[in-house]
Every structure is written in C-alpha cells, then in structure tokens.
C-alpha cells in the first residue's frame, strides 16, 4: 500500500517546526505504524536525509514511550491503544496521514515527534512511591487486601505514563495521570501512612509543572491505552479535599 506521511519536523526545542510530506509506496498492511516509520527512515538514510525522530521501547503496548498524535487522535484512530499497537491496515491505500508530536506547554518538543515528558517524573518524585524498609521481600500474606480493593488499585496502577491524557486534553491537564498514581497507592494499606501528604504534594507539583484544569471532557479515558476511568479524577478530588480537611 501507498500512503503520504505528513510529518511534523522540528530540529530542536527552540526552532520553529513544520510539516513535510513523505510518500511511501511499498508498505504492507500488516506492518505496525512504527514499522512503517522505520521503513520511511530507511528510505531517508539511503537518500542521505535526516531521519524522523520518534520514541519507542517495548513495541508491545506496555512501556508508554511511543506517544504520537496521528490524524487528530492520540495514538491514532482507535481508542485505548498505543501507537505500537496500531497497524497500517487501519488506513486506506493512498491515505494522507498527519503525524504530530504531543502538544502541551509542559511537554516541550525535543525533536520531531519526541517530547520531554519529565514533568511526569517530577510528579512521581513528589510522592508516587511508598516509604518501606528494603531487604528481603515481606511475607505476602502479612497484609491482607480484599479483591475489590486490589483490583481497583491494579486498574489505576496500569497507567504507563504515555502522556496521551495530557496530549488529548484541550487544557493539557495531567489530572488522569496524577489521579491514577495517587489512587493506586492511596487505596492500598501500604500507601495509607503517607496518603494525605501524597495527594497534596503530587497535585502541587502537577500545578507547578503548568498543566491545565480538568474540564471532564472525558477525552483522556478514551485515548488512554489502559482505559483508566475518568472516575479516578473525581476520586483524586475527593482525596484532595479530605487531605485538606483532615491532613
């Protein structure tokens, strides 16, 4: 199949970027989107042109590196997947595919399709962990956790930090990411001792990083590869108010 990639090219964070069209004509429908970009880059190497910079690691939907805005959607036309799980069969032969980096003030563009998501790391640094003694692993049954609680914590813990929530949000709100990290730990007994401080610190950092407010458009939960529910944000809000009052 043949497609035209209309790709955002930008040399460095300060340069002004722009779109460049690349026609690629020998793609297979079963190639993943990232493989199609690899193929384009091989062509660019042979032509002695600069390759398109994009991020990836696992290529199996678990690391969250491959964030790309494709044809107006985070991670392309399907809901709840990563870019590495997107296949060329999702596009028509002859399609023009617009490929952009995540756009948010807090995610500055480093090069082409790669953005700096370290704002997420700094939110995690402000409480996205538990204080525990290191050493041998404790006996698994020492702390009993009900199935309902553990399922809910696991659902929130599934967040891979890809940044699609921020990318798709009209306000570049990091509420879904931050809520997932907070609810994951705060709903478990291990997270309880630092629960209030965690909410206050992580949300304060979220604000400092320049993310916008949550308007509950719901776009984030549709684009989230892990399908993390927006109810998590409401729950974070409840935890925040609780921490403010009792914390």
């Amino acid at each position: 199949m043949e497609v035209t990639f209309r790709i955002w090219r930008q040399d460095n964070p300060t340069n002004k970027g722009g779109f460049i069209n690349y026609v690629v004509d020998d793609l297979a429908e079963d190639m993943s989107f990232l493989e199609a970009l690899d193929h384009l880059n091989e062509i660019l190497v042979l032509r002695n042109e600069k390759v398109v910079a994009f991020e990836y690691d696992c290529r199996e939907g678990i690391c969250g590196q491959c964030g790309i805005f494709i044809n107006g959607r985070a991670h392309g036309p399907h809901s709840n997947i990563t870019t590495c799980q997107l296949y060329m069969r999702s596009f028509k032969d002859g399609a023009i595919i617009t490929v952009e980096p995540w756009r948010a003030k807090s995610f500055p563009i480093l090069k082409d399709l790669i953005v700096d998501r370290s704002a997420f790391d700094r939110i995690i640094e402000h409480g996205g962990y538990i204080s525990a003694k290191t050493g041998t692993a404790p006996e698994a049954n020492a702390i009993l956790i009900g199935k309902g609680v553990s399922d809910k914590a696991m659902d929130a813990a599934a967040c891979i930090g890809c940044g699609a929530c921020v990318a798709t949000c009209k306000n570049s709100s990091a509420a879904l990411f931050t809520a997932a990290k907070i609810n994951h730990l705060n709903s478990l007994p291990q997270g309880k001792p630092e629960a209030h401080q965690r909410v206050l610190d992580m949300t304060t950092q979220m604000e400092k990083e320049g993310f916008g407010h949550c308007s509950f458009t719901g776009a984030c939960e549709v684009e989230c590869p892990e399908g993390i529910s927006i109810a998590n944000i409401a729950e974070m809000n409840a935890r925040y108010f609780k921490a403010k009052i009792f914390g």
């Binding site: 009209k170 949300t203 407010h213 949550c214 109810a231 809000n237 925040y240």
Partner: protein, 219 residues
C-alpha cells in the same frame, strides 16, 4: 488559589445556579395559566419574594455566584489556554468527547450575553426603575406579569429568549455532571445515573424556559 480551588468555585456556584434555575422555571410556569389567573398569581408571587428578607440574602448570593462563576471561568480558561499554546493541525475531538464539554467557554459567553439582556429587561426595570415605569395590578402589586407578557409579544425577544435556551441546555448537561465530579463524587454506578440525570435536568430546563416565550406569544 490552586487548580482545585478555582474549579470548585466554578462547580459550587454552578450548582447553586442549577438549583436556582429549578425554582425560577417552576415560577415561570405560572405564565402558562389563563391570563386572568396568571397576572394576579405571578405578581403576588414576585412581590412576596421581593419583600422576603431571606430571599434578599439568596438574591445577593445569586449575584455573587454569577460574578464568581464568570470570573473563575475566565481565570480557568486563561490557564487552560496557556497550558496548550500550540494546537494540533488536525484534532478529532468529536471522536473522544462531547461538543459541549469542549466548548463550555463559548456556551458560557452566549449565556452571559443572554443574562445581560435578561437583566436589562427585568431586573433593571423592576428593581432599579430604569426605562419605562412599571404599573400596578388590581391588587396593588407591581405588574411584573405585564413586563413579561409585553416582552414576549415582541417577535425578536421571543426568538432571542427561546433560541438562547439551546446553549443553556448544552452548558447544563455537561456542567451538572462535571460539577459533581469536580467536587469529588466518584461512585462508579452513581456517575452513570448522574449522566442520565444531567440529560433529563438540562432538557427540562432548556425546553421549559425555551417554550414559555413561544406559548405566551401565541396565546
């Protein structure tokens, strides 16, 4: 003055306005009765309200709510815009979210426009005594009914009042459920019920307020 504070002000004032709107619509239903009954009842009701000290406090709360709602909506929108300085060349928001949720600001501006005209039509004339003076009815009450009914016999105002209830419906449908989530209501099944309640609430208010001017016009 953080993200949570700003959003809570919008949500809290929004919910207060939502409750007010129910009372307001119920009272306006009096306008649908035959004129002889409606005039006396509507004027008596509005006189009772104006003279009740508790209602006076509620009225000031209402002005304050509207003011805070608008001010914080502006503050929130400014920060949101600055958090997303560069827009996507293509952005299919319709695939992942409702139109109303993406355009609360635009809907709000339409409501503000409505509110300015609405307050000029009623509040300025009745409370501030601006414009043509308002007479008394047979019982000696200020004839608010006359103000309403003459306004709704003007085709332009009927259209203005009825059409602008459409953006109201959209603003309220997203606003009601969003406000609850902003204030921390996160029960999963409850949220599903809430979404349905929001549609019903917004439909009743928008159709209710929108149809009354038309009925009065054609009565």
């Amino acid at each position: 003055m953080n993200l949570f504070f700003r959003r809570s002000i919008i949500a809290g004032t929004g919910l207060f306005l939502c409750i007010f709107m129910i009372v307001h619509l119920s009272a306006n239903c009096i306008l649908l009765l035959p004129e002889e009954i409606a005039r006396g009842m509507y004027n008596a009701y509005s006189t009772t309200l104006r003279e009740n000290p508790i209602i006076k406090i509620v009225a000031y709360l209402l002005y304050l709510s509207i003011l805070l709602h608008v001010i914080y909506a502006i503050l929130v929108t400014f920060r949101n815009r600055s958090a997303k300085p560069d827009k996507y060349a293509i952005n299919k928001t319709e695939d992942n979210s409702s139109w109303a949720s993406q355009n609360m600001g635009l809907l709000g501006i339409l409501l503000l426009l409505f509110l300015i005209v609405h307050l000029a039509n009623f509040w300025a004339r009745i409370k501030l005594g601006m414009g043509a003076s308002v007479g008394l009815d047979a019982a000696g009450n200020v004839d608010v009914y006359e103000v309403t009914s003459s306004l709704f016999h003007n085709g332009f105002y009927v259209l203005f009042y009825s059409l602008l209830m459409i953006p109201l419906g959209f603003h309220l449908n997203h606003g009601l459920k969003s406000a609850f989530k902003t204030l921390g209501f996160y029960h999963r099944k409850g949220l599903k019920v809430l979404a349905r309640v929001s549609v019903i609430y917004a439909s009743i208010l928008s159709v209710g307020f929108g149809i009354i001017p038309l009925i009065v016009y054609f009565k």
